[in-house]
Amino acid sequence: MPLSRDVYAELEQVVGPRHISDKPWILAGVRAAQPSSPMKPPSPEAVLLPGSAAEIQQIVRICNRHGIRYIATISSLIGFAYPSGPGTIILQLKRMNQLVEVNAQDRYAVIEPGVRHGQLRTELMKHGLTYPVAAVGPGGSVLANFACSSGDNHCQHGASRTNRYLLGLEWVTPEGELVRVGSLANDAGWFCADGPGPSLRGIIKGFVGQWSGMGVVTRIAIGLDAWRGPPELPTQGRSPSYRMRLDPACHKTFVFKFPTLEQARDAMIAIGEAEIAQAVLKYFNASAALLATESANEFWELWDSGLFQRELARPLYVFLSAWTHEELEYEECVLRDIIAEFGGADVDERIQRIYSDNMDFYILVGALQRVLRLGGGWAPCKLSGDSIGHMFEVGKAIPEFITPFIEQGRILDAPDNWQIIPLEYGHSAHIELLFLYDRNQPDWGKVPMDFMRASMQADIRNGHHGTMPLRTVAASQAIGALFSNAHMWANRVKDAFDPQRVSNPF
């Protein structure tokens, strides 16, 4: 439903004429198709730049009054940031960008939606603190990741997933009420997500977030971890050839290979039991090759050599980060014992050198956007979480459905391009399968949906918790039974809080 001039005027009254537009050239900036998809999203009716929670409350109430859908976004990186149907307005929360507080004593930071990973990470380093930074580049919104979605970080072995870090928060409900959640509700500060009685945190977040489908989160506090590195990134070189090595007396990276996935799995579990290492990853191999090169042509030269396929089919990447050299030596001794016990070996020296020289950069800052370099045809798959053992079962089953796609030439021949990140020293884990396809092929647009469907069907056949339930109705219905029919509960909650279904509905 297009906005009437009267409604537009109402919204303009709230944010001011400089912060709203329905000009076609402004809307063109937020309605382009993702390169991974053949489908262009519907154009929003307007884009607004609210400046406060109070303005958002007013906007949301106007939307409820007139039946207008709204989506709150920041960086607009993922597909859920775009309208799923006509009659939608976009609230870009970029102007709400205050780093409200860094509480080094109680180890939390309070932020607004517009604070970006690049900003918060480096600001916290000055205080000797850090947090799980999603590998989405410096422009990703911290709040969006912690409150509304769930991008992962390479160091979650020694940390955890974002839902564990969310503390007090301020929330504009889908109907426009301002609610303070957790300790904040009792004027007790931001330090805790929960107060007496049932917790609202799960309404907003859960294991994954609601992608702006449950109102607008306007401020959050996140818990912080200790940062063992220097107060400033020790960057050398110029784009794109940056190098970043932390003090080698306290920080060291390793890449090992294993004869079988079971041995890699057992080593990963043992490293967690020993409570050593900041990062442990069964990492992608094609993505690793993309990270190690600076152009698509360089990637192809490396990939065609077969080195990464041979050496990194079943790897473990380990990043040790210690306070002292003695601590590092201890961790390395333990690590070497574990690797030997489970049959691991050092990878080819050429690969080890790449990561010894620069793993700190890849691990800590992340340049994962380089996987987009091959032209846009890529998508992540699986994305769910469970125990380490279960995640490896999911990984072992990948050939069941990936092989036909490779044999038909529909995706890049990279069956081992998947990762498992353990969380909290092995209490659970996360899996992600990244597949790349060629936009030059005539039917390229069918590839992502066909592939994800095949992946999901394999999970259903095997009873695997591999595919994260998406917010699309069909996917939720297909996979929901594997997840306690969580989508049905989510729908009931949605009905209760958003009876008009105006907050980013699907």
Partner: protein
């Protein structure tokens, strides 16, 4: 010259990651000074960014977007500083700035651009060969005084000093200082004098390609008549245009050097020495066209095959080889000078705000960016902001006039001459 349609791959490859708006992760130093796109940090809508301009370009090509004065203003509000381009190319194989410039060229081709100020500039240039419409006969007037600048000759020489419009007409001290430096270094050189035309940069960057190409040809003829092999500039705009635009429209067999590189080489070879200390703490502003946009352009004609493979391989301009070290090393070699760095430096430098014609068409917008850059420079503790671009100088001096006592601006050549 590539047309807008040649950049389809870039437009279709953008996945809205936002890297075009933010300082690269390894170079970020905290909450402050983390944004990099001058227009996005002012207007906040995605349309005002490299990402947004790619999407606009695609919709125009596809006939989904119609021309409108507001659209034209948006396209020309971009300073064409190339920060989006360098940052995107840190992780991708895309040509963001070339797409934006091709979009401007399309607006001109379709009769929808440029901004009236730039059209007037082109008219003036056709008559007077300079961007100001000043008499061509006055172009080399800077060389007439003070007496004693013996090298202001039009005789053939392997080295030519290319002064440029802004220096010749507005900042003659820079030209005189440059000649003094060349003389002190013992470098025989020629100046083009009345044969020098505008480098064409302001026309290229506002989409007026045919008019720019005419300036190129005039200058190439003059350079070839004098047997020139190396062109020396003291203006970032000319420097970046000579290296980045000329090879797109003509054979360009010349080496182009910035005066800071000449000084560095002379210092290293012992042909130049600083004798006077200068007590100052300064910070160096990397002009876009001297830094990230100054890499030589290597023409590429080929095909983008499956999964981004470029056949033949392409020489990417990722901003890595800009002139970053020479001015810093030279200034740091002057006794008494301390060089301190802004957060956004080298390939991640923030534009002065006036580039791409923005100072002429949108002066207030330019001043918002300039104020931000001056704030960043002030935060270093420096008392002097130094650069080597008369256009940046204009923008900064406008900004500093609004902040009396904040700091002062000095051109690179002035400090070098003061220290000789």
């Amino acid at each position: 010259m590539n047309q807008l349609a040649d950049f389809r791959h870039t437009m279709q490859s953008c996945n809205h990651c936002g890297q075009c708006k933010w300082v690269l992760g390894p170079k970020t130093r905290g909450y402050d000074f983390a944004e990099i796109c001058p227009i996005h940090m002012q207007f906040h809508f995605d349309a005002y960014s490299g990402q947004g301009l790619l999407h606009i370009a695609q919709e125009l090509l596809d006939g989904e977007l119609q021309y409108d004065p507001g659209l034209r203003d948006l396209v020309y509000s971009c300073t064409a500083c190339g920060a989006c381009d360098t940052n995107c190319k840190s992780i991708r194989d895309m040509e963001v700035l070339d797409t934006i410039l091709a979009l401007r060229a399309k607006l001109v081709e379709d009769g929808q651009g440029p901004m009236p100020q730039y059209a007037r500039m082109a008219e003036a240039m056709a008559r007077t060969h300079n961007i100001y419409g000043r008499p061509h006969a006055e172009r080399a007037a800077w060389a007439g005084e003070p007496a004693g600048l013996s090298a202001t000759t039009s005789q053939p020489a392997p080295v030519a000093y290319f002064a440029g419009c802004a220096t010749s007409y507005q900042r003659p001290d820079i030209a005189r200082n440059t000649v003094r430096i060349l003389e002190a270094a013992g470098i025989a050189h020629t100046v083009l004098g009345a044969d020098e035309h505008c480098c064409g940069g302001p026309l290229w960057r506002t989409g007026q390609i045919d008019a720019a190409a005419r300036q190129v040809q005039e200058n190439l003829d003059a350079l070839q008549r004098r047997g020139v092999q190396t062109i020396v500039t003291s203006c970032a705009e000319c420097f970046g245009t000579l290296r980045g635009f000329y090879p797109r429209v003509a054979d360009f067999p010349f080496e182009v050097k910035h005066i800071s590189e000449i000084v560095q080489e002379a210092l290293d070879a012992g042909r130049l020495r600083f004798s006077k200390p200068l007590q100052t703490t300064l910070t160096w502003h990397d002009p876009c066209l001297l830094g990230r946009l100054s890499e030589p352009y290597v023409p590429w004609q080929g095909e983008i095959k499956a999964f981004g493979r470029h056949v033949p391989a392409k020489a990417w301009r990722r901003g890595q080889q800009g002139v970053y070290d020479a001015p810093r090393r030279v200034l740091g070699a002057i006794a008494g000078i301390e060089v301190v760095e802004m957060v956004r430096n080298e390939e991640n430098a923030l534009c002065c705000g006036g580039g791409g014609g923005v100072r002429e068409a949108f002066p207030e917008q330019a001043q918002v960016t300039a104020a931000e850059r001056i704030r960043e420079a002030t935060a270093t503790g420096a008392d002097t902001l130094v650069s080597s671009c008369p256009f940046c100088q204009d923008t900064f001096e406008d900004g500093l006039a609004r902040q009396p006592g904040a700091m002062r601006y000095r051109d690179f050549t002035q400090l070098v001459v003061d220290a000789l």
